[in-house]
Symmetry: D2
Subunit: 137 residues, 4 copies
């Protein structure tokens, strides 16, 4: 039963016995880990129009190898990026430039979580946009 | 009501309207973010017996400034650390050296989450050790 | 004159006036920055056989956008990498897995610098393998 | 002889034989590594007035354990830092906030290198402010 308060018994999850939470809570936790990882691994990376595409792809692929990720899309805001015209003409990736759409599945629980810069908060927010039971995926 | 599927209305949480999940799920998500952040921000930092204490403290204080953290304890395994005897005698922090005990509170939901190296998994596991409703804290 | 102790006057180097060193020393310094950056930006990144190629390419492209880089090659040791067979079957990039070959050019000074794991040091050494005057490149 | 083009033979430097450069060039290279490391290890770290002191100290101590460092001072610009008034009221460390003063010694060569935000470049510049022979330290 999804969302039950028992320990999760999941034949594919070798770590399941260490968790004391529901499938939904687990999916939320796993999503949080991945978003925290993206932000703190890659913020600071040098970026310009010349390497932004491969950087997006590398971030995505680095997320996909982690547990329970079924989909991820990373877009870096190009508004302040240019072709390099002189040696110091590039930026460091900031959290404010990140747009991430992540889907995590634990048993039947699907969490969709995002990183988006929220104007009214002046903050690159990590949030759960949906967390649902889906037996069809 | 804790755990209800409505949008969270929390007068102190300016970001609450962006979330579609229960308080427990939010607490789990916030805990995941912090553990992912610790790991991916600080793995790689140079460490020896000379700076391990201040590094632990800096990681803890960097977690405490983040949203909804009420307690955190970071211990770095000193087993392979030594006083420097020559110039190259120090290490880079790895995930396997991290022991973290984190407590996150969202409304009345308290998530306790950890990073511990698990021998049988050969892996520094991030997991939720408890997630409970506590109206007294 | 290359290697003179005057301030460097380089019409393309908008930062030149802040430096008090020769062209060779500048090339060595710039090479050091890039190797330190590679190591400390990317160590900790999740890696398996599935994403190692794109990660290598992203590291390279992130170096190329930085000042005075004319060539870089990054190889990640695949010895301990596998196709994922279960959820936790991947690694975090360590310095020991990095093989980097970097070429930096400042005026006519060319520094070739490397990161290589050195068995006898038990250490992923960053070093200058050559630093020469080359007016033909 | 300082600055000679032979391989450096330094009884304390177990890695010396891998280098092909002068002592001055080596000092410049070592300084570059440390500045690149500071930037790319710590940019992204959560920071507010509550943890800025310990973060500065941790960065300094993480530099001191690395080879050939004899002095380092790290100051984080507090202009945009405040006491936390709500949950999302903190920042991520950026390169623009960093002021670093580093002294590296290799044999008799002393490199002083800095990170400073340079207004006219709109850039947190890493540069060598002096590189000299000093037999008295």
């Amino acid at each position: 039963m999804v969302g039950s308060k028992q320990n999760i018994s999941n034949s594919k999850d070798r770590a399941g016995k260490f968790f004391h939470c529901t499938d939904h809570e687990r999916a939320a936790f796993e999503a949080g880990i991945k978003l925290g990882a993206i932000y703190h691994q890659f913020v600071g990376t040098p970026v310009s129009l010349g390497n932004v595409d491969v950087l997006e792809k590398a971030i995505e692929e680095g997320v996909r190898v982690q547990p329970f990720v079924i989909d991820v899309d990373v877009k870096i805001n190009r508004e302040n990026l240019f072709e390099k015209k002189h040696q110091y003409d590039y930026m460091s990736l900031t959290g404010n430039m990140l747009n991430v759409h992540l889907k995590v599945k634990y048993n039947h629980s699907i969490a969709v979580a995002k990183i988006e810069y929220i104007d009214e908060l002046h903050y690159p927010l990590m949030f759960i946009s949906s967390l649902e039971n889906n037996i069809t995926i």
